[in-house]
Symmetry: D2
Subunit: 156 residues, 4 copies
């Protein structure tokens, strides 16, 4: 609703490269097989394909996978609006699980709903896809903090 | 405080075997290298050892790992108090990150703080361990639902 | 977005009378000067007009007022979909504050996003109104439990 | 547990007067009949006595009252650790309701569990008292932001 109407101006024109570099350093995202599938100012989408290593006991995606990709999607949605030479960290998030995550692809869409200088508030919706039909299976609210003047460590 | 004073009676004397079987079917826990390190009625502890595949961009444990093992710890703390022939599912959880999860071992401790028939409310505290010193690095509150009469699917 | 597309069928055709009776028994809503301003299956809107007794220290609406009317709006959105002879109770909610609630009217809009038999998940958006311009000032996610076969106590 | 072991040093020796002045300006706290019953660095306790104007539909304390006094207790626990010439605002909180708040007195106890420079994370436990027996009836986790260099507005 309101999310799609938001038009954010990035402060760092180089935000996309910065985010893709950072994502590439997240060992967990690689370990889960997750990829950034869309990225624009105030918005980041991450998806993962099901395999048995992402399951909970009944063969669905584990809620931990939903939480992990939603957390990264929200963090990068915030990072896309942060100034150069800054980094971000998750302060907190809350997730409601709405339907079993039973399907082939899991998609987390993080959208900034309030972009303060220090804190960005983000909604993360998680969808499960089957035969190209998407179903909302979880939703999160996250608070992300911008650390201005503290760029991410490089893996030197 | 109050958690350690709680003494819960399991309804299913066989809860430990049931939980260990269920945990073994969670592909994600194996993929993260997580293990149950303590289990008693109303309490479950899960730990993971750091390796690069569990990292976020700065080399700490990814918050998604904290969330995943806390979610499983809370779920199994609840499952330990559920009747035979039931299963559990996470309704929601909220996590506050308190300190960087920089260390060798991550421990999630799930404790039931309210054991209703249908809903169990659980606190999950996550600690990072360095040289045997534990530091609280995140805390969660989770709501778990008991599905009475619906045992977990076997992996047939 | 998706909320506006949801079309819910009430199970109790008499839901509106039931909700208005219940609301009238909520001493706090009267004490806050809050009123139901819209009600339909899966949706409830509650508003309050500013006066000094609803303020925090800087003269805005106190976050407790936002929380209270959002909680009632979400509870009644859930109650509108519950069967006859049932009642509802709030399991938990989480609220993010997005902007100062400085204005004349505060509106909470509760919309069901997942209507399970036992649990209803609800989003509550809170708006502050000034000169007929609405601004989103807080957002909540709430879990509501339906107690089937347990109608509300009458104030006999 | 760990809360009682925390020993915080206030940065502003005058924190108590500052907090009591601020509390006195919260119209809502007065309207609810709430009072600060304990205050020390990193900790604030607020209580309210039941009367019909604080009720939900079944005659218990409305969850909105629990949320409001917990929010203020957490905010002032944070404010007690903030520097002179600062103010605080609630970023978000999450509350789980654990038992019906049926009784004469409601007590919210806010304790800082992580005191960062910009953000304070607080646990708020809410107890219902009957015949001097206290029962935990709700628990919250809250994030509070410190606005350094921005003292509270006076009611001039």
């Amino acid at each position: 609703m309101r999310n799609t109407e938001n038009r954010f101006e990035p402060q760092d024109p180089d935000f996309e490269r910065k985010i893709r570099d950072s994502f590439a350093r997240q060992g967990l995202m690689k370990h889960l097989g997750a990829e950034i599938s869309a990225l624009r100012p105030g918005y980041c989408e991450i998806r993962a394909t099901f395999h048995a290593e992402l399951s909970q006991q009944n063969g669905y995606f584990h809620a931990g996978v939903s939480g992990a990709i939603a957390d990264s999607a929200c963090g990068y949605a915030a990072f896309s609006l942060a100034p150069r030479d800054s980094s971000v960290l998750t302060v907190e998030y809350k997730m409601n699980l709405l339907a079993p995550a039973l399907g082939k692809t899991l998609i987390a869409r993080g959208s900034i709903i309030r972009s303060g200088k220090t804190l960005k508030i983000c909604r993360g919706d998680i969808f499960i896809v089957n035969d190209s039909a998407e179903q909302l299976c979880a939703t999160t609210l996250a608070t992300i903090m911008v650390l201005t003047g503290k760029p991410e460590h490089s893996p030197s």
